[in-house]
Every structure is written in structure tokens, then in C-alpha cells.
């Protein structure tokens, strides 16, 4: 199939058919913020940070879920997009309890980095300050729901790569939260293999190795793509 030609932020770009717009944008050397997307996992379009403007379409489209097509004219960084992105990040901070100063992920956190990227200097929304539990019943890992952004990267890593589907999402709207097995304590899960891929995939300090202290949780999400590649190539 012939390559598709499109215009991204004024540059002519050619892309492989069947490729996502996000991939094409990145190949063009342009940075678009993402959170729920993780190389190596399927896309779900949950966080809406990668929204772009496509000429001729009234609605904004998530780049990670949109396929390239011939002649597309795309804008990735308009004032409207900038404003929405900042609002999204602020809402994520307002929704749970992010106290970076004492967080295990501080300095290695995608949400924190995104906040800097979109220029968030304060949060304009009222904090919901929910009372979220911390589950450290697993012998090796813990989950602090205060820091979860519901990106579902853990759910997909566990399902698509490890293949055991320990993680899932329960509840709706503001009550949505990730669960292990049938909403049991993680330590009681009979499906969890303790492989730690969910921890690798998690962009924030929500899933962490037990016993880590402030700023000590490394960020290693890129290893998910590495595992996928290794499997494909039978390294």
C-alpha cells in the first residue's frame, strides 16, 4: 500500500498506512503529551491529552486512536489544545491526592512531568480530596489509589503481556478505581504472578515496590515496549 501524505503543523509528512496519527506526529519529531498511551500496549484513548485538531473535522481527535489518512491537515499545539491539556492535568490533580513532596515517584513521575510540560503552576479546580485506600497486602508491591490517574496501563500490561488479567476497573465516574481479581486485596489475588509489569507500566507513584521511600520509585515504563519487542523477535 502506498504511503499517506499529511500535513502536521505545517510540515509535509509521509506515514505508513494503518499507522496512528500519534506515531506519525512523533516520527515528524513533534511532541504531543500522552498519558494513557504506552508503547507496547493497545490504545484506549482514555486520557484525552493527545487530542489534536484536524481540519474539516469539528471534533478534536485523540492522536493515539486516529489512523492517518491521505491529505490530513493536523494541528497539534493550538491555543485551544494547550488550554484543554492544562485543564485535563489540573483535573487529574484535583481528583485524587497528589502530594508530590512526599511521593515515592517524585522526580520520576509522568504526571508530574506533564504538569511541567503544560505549564501548570496551580490548580484552578476544587480538590475533591477523596479518602482513598492504600493496599500493601502484596508481598512485593503496593497500590496507592490516591495517586492513580486511571490510565489503565496496568490493566492492559497485565492482560495483554502477562496474560493473566489480574487488574480491572470497577465503579463509574468519580468512583471508578482499579481492582485486583474480584476486588480482593492484591495480596489475596490468585491470578497475580508477581511479575511486576503493572508496576513498570504505571506512569505515577500509584503502583510501587514495597518499602520504597520518597522519590525512590524508578520510572521504567519503556521496558514494556522492550518486552513486547523481545517477544516478537524471540531475542
Amino acid at each position: 500500500m502506498a504511503a499517506k501524505t499529511l500535513t502536521i503543523d505545517g510540515h509535509l509528512v509521509s506515514a505508513r498506512p494503518g499507522e496512528t496519527l500519534l506515531a506519525a506526529i512523533r516520527e515528524a519529531g513533534i511532541t504531543v503529551p500522552t498519558l494513557c498511551h504506552l508503547d507496547g500496549l493497545s490504545d484506549v484513548g482514555a486520557c484525552r491529552l493527545c487530542l489534536v485538531e484536524i481540519e474539516g473535522q469539528r471534533r478534536l481527535q485523540p492522536a493515539c486512536m486516529t489512523m492517518v489518512s491521505e491529505g490530513m491537515v493536523v494541528h497539534t499545539n493550538t491555543p485551544r489544545l494547550q488550554s484543554y491539556r492544562r485543564q485535563i492535568i489540573e483535573l487529574l490533580f484535583a481528583e485524587r491526592n497528589h502530594v508530590c513532596a512526599v511521593c515515592v515517584a517524585s522526580g520520576h513521575c509522568e504526571l508530574q512531568r506533564l504538569a511541567g510540560m503544560v505549564g501548570m503552576d496551580h490548580v484552578r479546580y476544587e480538590y475533591l480530596s477523596p479518602n482513598c485506600p492504600v493496599d500493601i497486602s502484596h508481598p512485593r508491591f503496593g497500590i496507592d489509589h490516591n495517586r492513580c490517574v486511571l490510565c489503565t496501563r496496568c490493566v492492559r500490561a497485565c492482560d495483554e503481556i502477562e496474560g493473566v488479567h489480574t487488574w480491572d476497573v470497577a465503579g463509574r465516574g468519580v468512583n471508578a478505581h482499579v481492582i485486583t481479581d474480584l476486588n480482593q486485596p492484591w495480596g489475596a489475588s490468585t491470578t497475580c504472578t508477581s511479575c511486576g509489569k503493572c508496576q513498570l507500566a504505571c506512569p505515577t507513584g500509584a503502583i510501587f515496590p514495597r518499602g520504597v521511600t520518597v522519590g525512590e520509585r524508578p520510572h521504567a515504563s519503556e521496558r514494556i515496549a522492550l518486552i513486547v519487542e523481545a517477544r516478537k523477535q524471540r531475542w
Partner: protein
């Protein structure tokens, strides 16, 4: 009928506090109170957190002495893991606490109290600050800055600027000391000792001038509590607790921090957010005790450091075996700086400091633990309970200013009584009350777990409860 004086704010201490002085019909002091008016329920905030996070969280309670919280918390964490931490970690923690004592005492003596001491309590308030001190005695001011910087440097060499809030962790420490860091500390020690010895010489020259202050600043019998090491040596981390009475008799010795509740009770008063700890055996408020530099040099048998011991002996000859007045907190701070530098001299030669074995790994092996460190301002207790997984279910912190609370109240009363007669008083009296409080170096932001600025005001009320005067700066 009576009058009431309230001092607000005591400048140069952190937090928010208020002093009220009630006068009687004759215009003499009937009652004084040192109130702390801000409160944030810090303990509650910790419930449900994994205890591994506690050093990082509690180090954020107070911007002035994070190291003390860090160490007490990490030590409580060691207790929950039920491990003995690697020797290198133990020594490095000790080294950091010495750095903390030096930098904090240097700040308190040279910058916060220096202006009062060197320029005089009745000097122009506009000049009686660190800038006035720099103008009047640039060398002393500069020395103070150097000493403080040195203490901070030691802390930074270990904890680093960025990760500092969680350098000490349950089970040990996160980073060791580099060879070059060790050389850097070693090279500076002689100069720092000269500065400290010079400063104590200067303070001793002032004793003559401040006879009246020495006699009226918190001179009353009380108990003293502090940590000591083997043989009753001055100790700031990892020792056992000792309580003595005003005659020097040892009432309690070798107390393991875990048993502190057997010895210390905590009373609550409706007019203050600080808790009022007291020694149970003597009841409340008779069991009033003091902690901090003065208490530590009183409870210890020796400083375990040559030059510091010389100074301590001299002071004991002059002021008695138990040094009672809170004015002597200043002497005590300088003696502790000297001792800390001498201890550092010894510690720095220990090759364990360069070890890479720094952290013991374990799960939850105990459900309750107490960690104690000697903060610059006094003994600091962190008491945690956790569930079987390690989530915090209960926290109790006892901080220095809380323990000195009763004594601070007494001190304020004593100074007021001595300087206010027949409703007559002047600005100098209020300065002295403020200085009497500052002698304890209270850190109110930490004692009430509140963040922000300390302000203090003194209000003077007459017998009818009418406000006569108010000082707030």
C-alpha cells in the same frame, strides 16, 4: 480585678504564639500564659500511609529541623522492621545529626539571640537584629554564618540537597559518604572549633553584664530529660533516656524509648494546642521537665569530648552541678557545638563511614515502635503503630517545644514578675520576655505541626481584663 499583658509576635522564632500577662489589683503579675494558637492535625494525616514513607512525610513537618524528624522516624521504622541497621548507616545518621545540631545552634546563638546578647536588651529595636549585629561585630556575625554553613554542608554531603527529606529510611540510609566528602569535613573541623571556642569566650565575658537576666530567666527547679550514652556520656542519637531532678539526682536511667509512656504523661489544656508532657512519677504539673541543650548538659555525666568537658566543668563550678537558669541555654548550645565538632573529629576517621552496606531489608516484624533523636531543641519522640502490612494506624509525636511548654510558661511568669511592678513596665521588659522564650529556641511551627510564619504577641491586661498594652512585631 487584674491586668493582662500579651506579647505578639515574638520576632525571630517560627510559628505563632501569644503571651498574655494578667495583673492584679496592685498592678503586679497575677498570671501569665504562653499560648500557641495554630494547629494542624498532622498525626491524622499519617494514618493509612505505609510506614516507609514516614521519614519523608515527617521531615516536612518542620522546615527548620527536618533532620531530627527524619532520624527519629527512620529509627522508629527500624523498630518496626525489628532490624539492627548496618554500622555504617548508624554512624552516618549520627554524623548527620551532629551537623544538624551545629547548624541549628549556630543559627540560634549567632543570628537569633546574638543581637540581644551582643547589643543589649535595651538597645534600639531597629538595630537589634542580625543586620545590627553585622554592623556592630562583623567578625562574630561572619563566624556564625561560617559555622552554620559547615553544619549544613555536612547534611548536604550526606543527604544531598534534593533527596534530603528521605535520606534516612527504615533499615538504614540511602547514600553513603564519599572519600572527598570526608576530606572536606575533616579539613574544615579545626577552623570551626576555633570559631566555637572563640564564641564561648565572648559569651563568658557577657555574664557580668547580664547578672539580672541570668537570675530571672527561668531560674526555678525542674526536672531535666535527655539522652545519654554508655557511662552517662552526652548523646544525641541512639542512646537511652535519663531524667534527673534539680539536685542532680538521677530519677530514671537507661530508659528504653519504647517504654516512654511508662514515664511520660501528656496533659491537655484548653487554652493551648500544645500538649503538656510531664514525668508521671511526680504528677501534673509537678512533673514539669525541660529538654534541649541545657537539659542534655545537665543529665550527662560527661560530654565525652575534651574541650567541651573543660567548658562544662567550668560552667558547673560557676552555676552549680545542675544549671538551672534558661539563660544558660546559650552556654549549653555553644558547649554542644564544641562537643559536636569534637565528636565529628573522632567519627570522621572511622572507615565504616565509606562502606556501601547501608540498608537492612525486612518486612513488618513488630507492630509498634518508638524512635527517639535529640533534636537541637530537645528530645524528639516518634511513636508509630502499624497493621500487619505496615500501614500506619496510630502516630504520636512528642516534640521539644511541647516538653518545654510548662517551663516556658514558668519562665515568662518569672520574668514578668521580676520586671513588672505596680503596673509599671517598659519596652525592655517585653523584649526580655521575648528573649526568655527565645532562650528555649521554641519551634512552634513544628510543635503544632503547622506550616508557616511564627508570630507572637504579648498583651498586658489589668485586673478588670482591660487590655493595657500590646506589643506585636
Amino acid at each position: 480585678m487584674g491586668q493582662r499583658i500579651v506579647i505578639d509576635p515574638v520576632t525571630r522564632i517560627e510559628g505563632h504564639a501569644k503571651i498574655s500577662i494578667h495583673l492584679d489589683e496592685a498592678g503586679d503579675v497575677a498570671e501569665t500564659r504562653f499560648h500557641v494558637t495554630e494547629f494542624r492535625g498532622f498525626e491524622r494525616f499519617c494514618i493509612g500511609r505505609p510506614f516507609w514513607e514516614m521519614p519523608g512525610i515527617t521531615a516536612r513537618i518542620c522546615g527548620i529541623c527536618p533532620v531530627s524528624h527524619l532520624l527519629a522516624s527512620a529509627r522508629a521504622g527500624d523498630g518496626l522492621l525489628a532490624v539492627q541497621i548496618p554500622p555504617a548507616a548508624e554512624k552516618l545518621r549520627r554524623l548527620m545529626n551532629l551537623g544538624q545540631i551545629i547548624q541549628s545552634h549556630a543559627l540560634s546563638f549567632f543570628h537569633l539571640s546574638g543581637p540581644d546578647l551582643m547589643l543589649g536588651f535595651d538597645s534600639d529595636p531597629a538595630q537589634r537584629n542580625v543586620f545590627g549585629l553585622i554592623a556592630a561585630d562583623p567578625n562574630l556575625a561572619r563566624n556564625g554564618i561560617r559555622l552554620r554553613q559547615f553544619g549544613q554542608e555536612v547534611i548536604e554531603l550526606l543527604g544531598g540537597r534534593k533527596i534530603h527529606p528521605a535520606w534516612a529510611v527504615p533499615g538504614g540510609v540511602r547514600n553513603g559518604l564519599s572519600q572527598s566528602g570526608r576530606d572536606q569535613i575533616r579539613a574544615k573541623l579545626p577552623e570551626m572549633l576555633t570559631i566555637a571556642l572563640d564564641a564561648i569566650g565572648r559569651l563568658k565575658q557577657l555574664t557580668e553584664r547580664y547578672q539580672r537576666e541570668i537570675a530571672t530567666f527561668g531560674v526555678f527547679p525542674s526536672l531535666y530529660l535527655g539522652m545519654v550514652g554508655p557511662g552517662g556520656r552526652w548523646m544525641h542519637y541512639g542512646g537511652k533516656l535519663r531524667v534527673i531532678d534539680h539536685t542532680g539526682k538521677i530519677l530514671i536511667d537507661e530508659l528504653d524509648p519504647i517504654d516512654y509512656r511508662d514515664v511520660i504523661g501528656e496533659a491537655v489544656e484548653p487554652w493551648s494546642y500544645l500538649k503538656f508532657p510531664y514525668i508521671r512519677a511526680l504528677g501534673y504539673p509537678g512533673g514539669m521537665y525541660r529538654v534541649g541543650p541545657l537539659a542534655r548538659i545537665n543529665v550527662c555525666t560527661t560530654m565525652g569530648a575534651t574541650r567541651a568537658d573543660t567548658e562544662l566543668r567550668e560552667l558547673r563550678e560557676q552555676a552549680g552541678p545542675v544549671i538551672e537558669g534558661s539563660f544558660y541555654y546559650h552556654h549549653a548550645r555553644l558547649i554542644e557545638i564544641i562537643a559536636a565538632l569534637e565528636r565529628m573529629e573522632m567519627l570522621i576517621e572511622d572507615d565504616d563511614l565509606l562502606s556501601n552496606e547501608l540498608r537492612a531489608d525486612a518486612g513488618v516484624n513488630r507492630r509498634e515502635a518508638v524512635g527517639v533523636s535529640e533534636a537541637p531543641r530537645g528530645t524528639l519522640f516518634h511513636h508509630y503503630k502499624v497493621d500487619d502490612k505496615g500501614l500506619i494506624t496510630d502516630v504520636n509525636l512528642i516534640i521539644a517545644t511541647g516538653q518545654n511548654n510548662l517551663a516556658i510558661n514558668r519562665t515568662v511568669g518569672q520574668i514578668a514578675q521580676s520586671y513588672i511592678r505596680n503596673g509599671q513596665f517598659d519596652q525592655g521588659i517585653l523584649n526580655r520576655i521575648e528573649a526568655g522564650v527565645r532562650a528555649y529556641d521554641p519551634c512552634l511551627s513544628c510543635s503544632t505541626h503547622a506550616v508557616g510564619q511564627m508570630a507572637m504577641e504579648v498583651e498586658l491586661y489589668d485586673a478588670q481584663g482591660e487590655l493595657l498594652d500590646r506589643v506585636s512585631r
